[in-house]
C-alpha cells in the first residue's frame, strides 16, 4: 500500500527494504504491477533472482543495516558471486537442478550464466562506513553502493559522503583512496554482528 502511495507521489524508485517493519511477513510486493522501479535486498543468488522474478529492477546485497560493519555486505556479495561462478559450464539439465536448489527461475539462471553477473544493476548496502568499505565492495563487482548511517552517524557527514563517492569512482586506486580518507573526522562506531540478538538481525527479514 505504501508503495502505491509512493508511486502516486511520483517517487523515482522504491526500496522494498527489510529495515522498515514489513506489513506482510510472508509475501513480497508483486512489483510487476508498478511502473516505478524497485530495488530489493538479497543475501545470495537465489534470493536475488526470486526478487527479480517478482519484478525488481535493481538488486542490492543486504549486509546488516545500521551496524557500520561491512562484514555481512561482503558475505552477501561473495555469495552472489560464487552462486554465479558455479553456473559456468552447466548444461540446461544441470541449470534446472540448480534452479530447484536455489528456489529461483531457470530462465533467470540462464541469463546469469550468459552474462556472468546478475542481469540487473547490483548495489551493495548494509554496513558501509568508510571509503575503503565502498572500494572493497566495488572491487567485488558491485555497480554502486548505498550508504546511510555510515555517513549520517559519523562526525562529519558531508566530508565523509564526498569521500565515499570518490572511493566508489576510484575504487581501484589505493593512492587516491588514501588521499580521500584523510581527516574525515569520527567514523560511525561499528557494531560486532555476533553481539546482536539473532532475532533482531534485519537481513533475515524476507526470503
Amino acid at each position: 500500500m505504501e508503495a502505491q502511495i509512493l508511486e502516486a507521489l511520483g517517487i523515482d524508485y522504491i526500496d522494498e527494504s527489510e529495515v522498515l517493519t514489513p506489513a506482510d511477513e510472508e509475501n513480497h510486493i508483486d512489483k510487476h504491477q508498478f511502473k516505478v522501479p524497485f530495488v530489493c535486498g538479497c543475501r545470495d543468488l537465489g534470493e536475488a533472482l526470486r526478487r527479480i522474478a517478482e519484478g525488481a529492477a535493481m538488486i542490492r546485497t543486504k549486509g546488516e543495516a545500521g551496524t557500520g560493519n561491512v562484514v555481512e555486505a561482503v558475505r552477501h556479495m561473495r555469495a552472489v558471486n560464487s552462486g554465479i561462478r558455479k553456473l559456468s559450464g552447466m548444461n540446461h539439465a544441470e541449470l534446472v537442478h540448480e534452479a530447484k536448489n536455489l528456489g529461483a527461475p531457470v530462465d533467470l539462471l540462464a541469463d546469469c550464466q550468459q552474462v556472468g553477473r546478475l542481469p540487473v544493476v547490483n548495489f551493495a548496502a548494509g554496513g558501509i562506513a568508510t571509503p575503503a568499505d565502498a572500494a572493497l565492495l566495488m572491487q567485488l563487482g558491485v555497480d554502486g553502493v548505498f550508504v546511510g548511517s555510515g555517513i549520517f552517524k559519523s562526525g562529519d557527514p558531508l566530508k565523509r559522503a564526498k569521500a565515499i563517492v570518490a572511493a566508489t569512482t576510484y575504487f581501484d586506486r589505493p593512492d587516491i583512496l588514501a588521499e580521500v580518507s584523510e581527516d574525515l573526522g569520527e567514523p560511525m562506531v561499528g557494531i560486532e554482528i555476533p553481539t546482536l540478538p539473532k532475532e533482531e538481525l534485519l537481513a533475515q527479514r524476507g526470503w
Binding site: I11, D12, K162, V165, A166
Partner: protein
C-alpha cells in the same frame, strides 16, 4: 564502452586527466550532470577536458553528457554551466521524473530513417544554436552535431542499435 567495442573501436575509461592522453575521441556518457561536474572538478579533470574539447578533440555526449557539452543549462544547480563546446541551450530533467522516462521511435537526419530512442530523465534542447539537428522526436530536436562533436538527449547504447556509434567513429576518423 561495450557498444563502441562492438562497433570496432578500442576504449579506455577516463577518470583522471592522464587518461586523456592520445585519445582520438571522448564520450561523455549519461549519469547525473551535477555529480559528474563536481567529481571532474575535484580531480582536476574538468579543465583538462574543457581544454581538450576546445582544442578540437571529437566528442559524443549522451543524456547528461549532452548537458556537459552545452553552453547554457536551465534547471541545474546554482551556477551550473556546461563546457560550452556546442552553442546549445538545454533544460535538465525536462521530461519529468523517472516515471516519465520513455522509449520512442526517433527520426534521424530528416530522411525518414527511424531510431529506437531510450529517454531516461532526459534533457531537452531549447535552442540548437548553430548546430545541425540529426535526430528528432515529435519534431523536437533530440540529437545535434557540429563539426566532430555530437550530442544526444537519449541513450543509444541501450537500444542495441549501433548506427549512431558508428557515425561518431566515422566523424572521429574524418
Amino acid at each position: 564502452m561495450r557498444a563502441f567495442e562492438a562497433a570496432g573501436a578500442r576504449t579506455r575509461l577516463v577518470r583522471l586527466k592522464e587518461d586523456l592522453e592520445d585519445l582520438e575521441g571522448l564520450v561523455i556518457p549519461g549519469g547525473e550532470s551535477t555529480t559528474m561536474t563536481m567529481l571532474m572538478e575535484r580531480m582536476g579533470l574538468y579543465d583538462a577536458v574543457a581544454d581538450a574539447l576546445h582544442s578540437g578533440l571529437p566528442a559524443l555526449g549522451t543524456c547528461a553528457g549532452m548537458i556537459l557539452l552545452a553552453e547554457r543549462v536551465s534547471d541545474g544547480i546554482d551556477g551550473q554551466q556546461g563546457l560550452g563546446v556546442l552553442d546549445i541551450a538545454v533544460r535538465r530533467n525536462a521530461y519529468g521524473r523517472q516515471l516519465e522516462s520513455f522509449e520512442a521511435e526517433l527520426e534521424l537526419n530528416g530522411d525518414g530513417a527511424s531510431f529506437p530512442g531510450v529517454f531516461i530523465r532526459a534533457p531537452i534542447v531549447e535552442d540548437v544554436g548553430s548546430t545541425e539537428v540529426i535526430a528528432r522526436h515529435d519534431g523536437r530536436p533530440v540529437g545535434v552535431r557540429k563539426g566532430r562533436t555530437m550530442a544526444l538527449a537519449f541513450h543509444p547504447e541501450l537500444s542495441g542499435d549501433l548506427r549512431l556509434h558508428r557515425e561518431f567513429l566515422r566523424l572521429v576518423r574524418s
